[in-house]
């Protein structure tokens, strides 16, 4: 169906930027690639493995994540952790996210207050 394709494409576009924020928030507790993927999935953030892994490296390159190899487990795993800069950025992005939500609610003149609160609680549950 064409409509669902279109919806999927736009939804992916919308989520793409959110994955950075979600990763920075989740990695306040050190985590490795697959573990983070799992955590994001359980939290309801769609992040395909083949974009998440390169993204982690890029964030590390930007100094937003630090990393360390842990060789104590059954296999060596690279643990990532949000750096101080990363956390600061995440807080800024969270502010932006709220600003986006407010801006959208203000623009959405059609919606009556009831459905608006419903949407708010739904969003509130997700992270």
């Amino acid at each position: 169906m064409k409509d669902t394709d279109l919806l999927d494409a736009h939804r992916q576009e919308l989520w793409r930027g959110m994955v950075v924020l979600a990763s920075l928030l989740a990695l306040q507790q050190p985590g490795y690639g697959y573990g983070l993927l799992d955590a994001l999935e359980r939290a309801g953030v769609p992040a395909p493995a083949n974009t998440l892994y390169p993204l982690l490296r890029r964030l590390e390159g930007q100094g937003l994540l630090t990393s360390e190899w842990d060789t104590s487990g059954t296999r060596p795993r690279k643990f990532y952790r949000t750096s101080r800069d990363g956390l600061r950025l995440a807080r800024e992005l969270q502010k932006e996210w709220r600003a986006i939500d407010t801006a959208l609610s203000r623009l959405d003149t059609e919606a009556d207050p009831e459905t608006n609160t419903e949407a708010d609680t739904e969003l509130g549950e997700q992270p």
């Binding site: 490795y32 690639g33 697959y34 573990g35 993927l37 799992d38 395909p48 493995a49 083949n50 974009t51 892994y53 390169p54 490296r57 890029r58 190899w69 296999r75 060596p76 795993r77 690279k78």
Partner: protein
Amino acid sequence: MSTTLTDRYVAAAVRHVSGKHRGEIDRELRAAIADDVEARVSLGERPGQAEYAALAELGDPAQLATRYADKATVLIGPANYPYYAKAMRLLSATVLPITYLVNAIGHWVRGENVATAIFSPLGVTLTAAVYLFAGVTVLYVLVDRFGSERGPGEPDQDWKPDQLPFSDATATTTWSEVGSGIVLAVLLVVALFVQRSATLVATASGARVPVLDPALWGFWVPFFVVVLVLSLALAVANLRLGRWTLATAVAGTVLILAATGPLAYLFFEARVLNPALGSVFTSTGSWIGWLALVVLAAITVAVLAKTWRHRDRQRIEVQ
């Protein structure tokens, strides 16, 4: 040790990654794949199936590699694409018909039949099209990569409304016009020299001779080359100024008259084409002379109208 699917996958993914990061990405990918396989096995999948499914989910390793590399995956970004397309259109619309016509005339002058004259230049034109396409593309890829400080595909941040074209959009000089002009000029000068030795035309007796009258080399060819170079310099100046000034408009007028005036005179006097080609081309006031006169007059009027009308309009808009 036999190669597993995972080995093949990781090898394919890191092949295009630069050496510095290869080992690290290799380790990281292996760990992630192993984690995924383990999770799938614990849910009851067979190990072989689990590995297959994990790799399938990661998708095409080549695509994964480009994501790791974080490099531009476009040849010509959106900032340069419009100029590229425009230059390509402009050059195709000029170089290819000229190539075809010159070759067709060459065949016709050699006295071959009409079918040969019409069809055999198609091959040369096709070759010219391929070279043109490749050359212009390579040029713009280089411009896109190294042309400015901004990265590939990023738009011009310093754009100001002053750069807007005046309402007579075709009258403003653009980079693609100047670029195409330079390419055309170089091709023309090369053609001038090439036709002296490797000519396509032959006289009725079969001797190969240059298309142009060799006597022109004494004064007129250098003269026209100088006019051509000055015109290009003027076009570049126009590009910098962004508009016609009185000085550049006068210079443009002088240059176009200096180019078309003598050329029309030479054509009419039948001093352009090699007299060895036959009497059609050598008699004063032949149909070729008249045709050249009409074409050159039309070009002159068009260029002058464009220059001065554009300047007028610009004065009105500025006021």
